[in-house]
């Protein structure tokens, strides 16, 4: 679903300067999130200071990708040409055991709430890092 198209349209690559760190980690297929060096809190989406203790020392550490689907839907409409060509597109929100809530592409069409998943950080065809939610029984295939 993600890379079979002949279309010139690619997924949106624009990120903030901090968000580029997600893409760099994706080049090594690593899930790296901002880990507060003062209080240990995992932060996502990317930000300048720890959302808990407001300290600025955040390290991009490898985070456990285990989590659970909070809600899953299929997108049938998108303003982005790349997604518009690939509808329906599965989108899930996932609560990581480490704390953060992430949006991710669904690796399968139907990932209902409560599904145990692993979040993987991979480069898309734009070279940007995006998260994929793999159902636990299929992760690491």
């Amino acid at each position: 679903m993600s890379n079979s198209t002949q279309s010139p349209n690619k997924p949106p690559a624009k990120r903030t300067a901090l968000g580029e760190n997600l893409s760099r980690a994706a080049a090594n297929a690593e899930l790296r999130l901002q880990h507060c060096q003062a209080c240990g809190h995992w932060n996502y989406p990317p930000r300048e200071v720890c959302g808990e203790c407001l300290v600025g020392e955040l390290a991009w550490d490898i985070c456990d990708g285990s989590g659970e689907v909070l809600a899953g839907v299929a997108l049938h409409n998108s303003f982005e040409p790349y997604f518009a060509e690939h509808l329906p597109w599965p989108l899930v929100s996932v609560k990581l055991q480490a704390g953060p809530i992430v949006y991710a592409h669904g690796a399968e069409a139907d990932l209902p709430a409560g599904t145990a998943v692993t979040i993987e950080n991979r480069q898309d065809s734009s070279g940007a890092g995006v998260f994929w939610a793999q159902p636990l029984n299929r992760a690491g295939d």
């Binding site: 949106p12 624009k14 903030t16 996502y44 930000r47 299929a74």
Partner: protein, 397 residues
Amino acid sequence: MSRLNQKPASYEGLALVCPQSFGYAKSSAHGASYFIGQTLGHMIHQAGIDKAEVDGLAISSFSLGPDSVISLCQHFNLSPRYLEQLPFGGASGVIALRRAARAVQMGDANIVACIGGDTNQPGSFGDLIADFSTFTRDASYPYGAGGPNAAFALITQHYMEQSGATREDFGRIALAQRHNANHYPGALLGHKSLTMEQYLNARQIAGPVHMFDCVMPCAGGEGFLLMSEARAKHLKLPYVRLLAADELHNAHRQDPVQFRGGWTEYIDELYSRADCGPEDIDLLQTYDDYPAISMLQMEDLGFCQKGEAPDFVRNTELTFDGRGLPHNTSGGQLSVGQAGSAAGFLGLVEAMRQLLGSAGNNQVASAERALVSGFGMINYDRGLCSAAAILQTGAKV
């Protein structure tokens, strides 16, 4: 600590006057200042005052950039002594009211024009959602979740699973609002009827969200003037009183999926300050960017228990003339259109018309007290702003 925390002061002595809704259009070549300026012009004309008497501006707009509220002083040849800009989307109307109320009560301004206005040019909505916030840029837009549809689809899906709400329940809200819009000339979709069959068979947008759950982006302006009650009486203007208002942002942030808003934390106190309860409310204006969000508000504002809004809408007539709980009496954004930040003023301005008895064909019989709520700003996975105000008729025409 509690002895250090003062109770909010009363809002007595204030008057909301001259509700205006201006220039709704599906798209416009004009800039935002056209809609803001024309709304202001009509309000001044309605009030019968000189432009120079407006000494405060409280403005909300997504499409005003690179200009801001200070730029508007030069555009409109005004010299105000009070300026406020409110980037709070669907909560901006109630928040503008709260800010302006204190400015007038404290004497920092005499007449504050509170206006939400936006244009809608080809491509402008796409530009707005592509770069709405740093969080959306990194964490939602790359997933195809551009704009609020996807975030609200996830919230709606979760709400349905938790409460048992069905699409028919959402349809009841949409249909009642279309009926209301059929009686409100300013509604962009007011000339069209909507049946449950059409609602259920509409094009799918994202998960449970279909075409008639989504608002139509458009251009337009909404506004009102805030002044002292004494000044309104002096000017012989019909006016509305503010009984109570509050706001809370990023509340319940531990909820994994948004299931309630900040209203729950202050609604009891809000009714207490207004000396009334939900049973005393003659009409309710919620921020209806998706019917499920209106249901959250019905619950959190005390019209029913949490998770019971599906039952509530099955058993309550929501039309302006149904003698149940008139809800979004001009059709709401779902049927009027979402004019950017003006949508955050739509319910408030409509409530004023109702309380002044000047609503026209969609007038609610004996409307004396209204509850208006605002909800706004999907910074990532949830709406952050919650605001609410209880208004009462002061003096009619």
